[in-house]
Amino acid sequence: MPIVVNLDVMLAKRKMRSRELSEHIGITEQNISLLKSGKVRGVRFDTLSRICAVLQCQPGDLLEYRPGPEDELPPQDP
């Protein structure tokens, strides 16, 4: 998956535990854990905005794009 979730890094920076974040944004700790490990299909904008509000950060601080070999675009005709 080329989208990397850096939520654990932001939690460490803000010195906040997953449980505390889950209580603030209203999703389960299990889902926080799945999000941290990147084992989710996607994140709703509503959830993302709540995380950013609590952690005082930008979406770019949480999400990073790291392309793999399978994500390279096909060669374009000149």
Binding site: N31, L34, L35, V40
Partner: protein, 196 residues
């Protein structure tokens, strides 16, 4: 001067929350489970009791099959074979009710869009479709059994299809269609659950 309200008075003055759709599902689930339990028990007892009582066979079964009460001959063997034949649609009916029991058990637990619920619904649908076919066959066989001791020339072969059979078939096919829609709905629900 302001008067302090007692906790019970303050609780009573709050409007009751309106029931959510899931509350209604749970209530209907409990009702359905009760109905299939009572209905299945009564249906089984009534079927077996009817075949144990010659007078009830004359009044009930003969009319269902389309025979005059005076045109049938009832012996213990007729009662035995008649009850045996009835066990097939009865068994299908009980199988269907068991599916309803477990299906609404899932619904009562809030598990609506699951593979198990879809499977129960499909089995219920197939049991209704099969019941429509077996009822036609059972009536024919009942006609043969009820007249098997009649003198030659008085034995009867009855073929009948009633609106009940057609209703079972229509409802079964309808439920089967809904069951396949629920399979797709389950897939979408699971996909949705993978979003946080």
């Amino acid at each position: 001067m302001m008067q302090a309200m007692s906790p019970s008075a303050s609780a009573e003055s709050l409007p009751k929350p309106s029931p959510t759709p899931m509350d209604r599902v749970r209530r209907i689930a409990e009702l359905m489970r009760g109905m299939v339990l009572v209905g299945g028990t009564l249906f089984t007892i009534a079927t077996l009791a009817m075949w144990a009582t010659p007078e009830w066979i004359r009044l009930g079964v003969s009319q269902q099959v389309g025979l005059e009460p005076g045109s049938i001959t009832i012996t213990p063997a007729v009662q035995f074979y008649g009850a045996l034949i009835s066990l097939v649609p009865l068994g299908l009916g009980i199988f269907g009710m068991v599916q309803v029991w477990f299906l609404f058990g899932e619904y009562a637990q809030g598990r609506i869009f699951t593979a198990i619920a879809s499977r129960r619904l499909r089995r219920l649908a197939w049991s209704l479709i099969a019941a429509a076919a077996t009822q036609v066959v059972a009536r024919t066989l009942h006609g043969l059994v009820l007249t098997m001791n009649n003198p030659p020339g008085k034995k009867m072969l009855v073929l009948s299809v009633s609106s009940n059979d057609y209703s079972f078939l229509i409802f079964g096919v309808l439920l089967l269609g809904i069951a396949w829609v629920m399979v797709e709905a389950t897939r979408l629900a699971q996909e949705n659950a993978e979003f946080v």
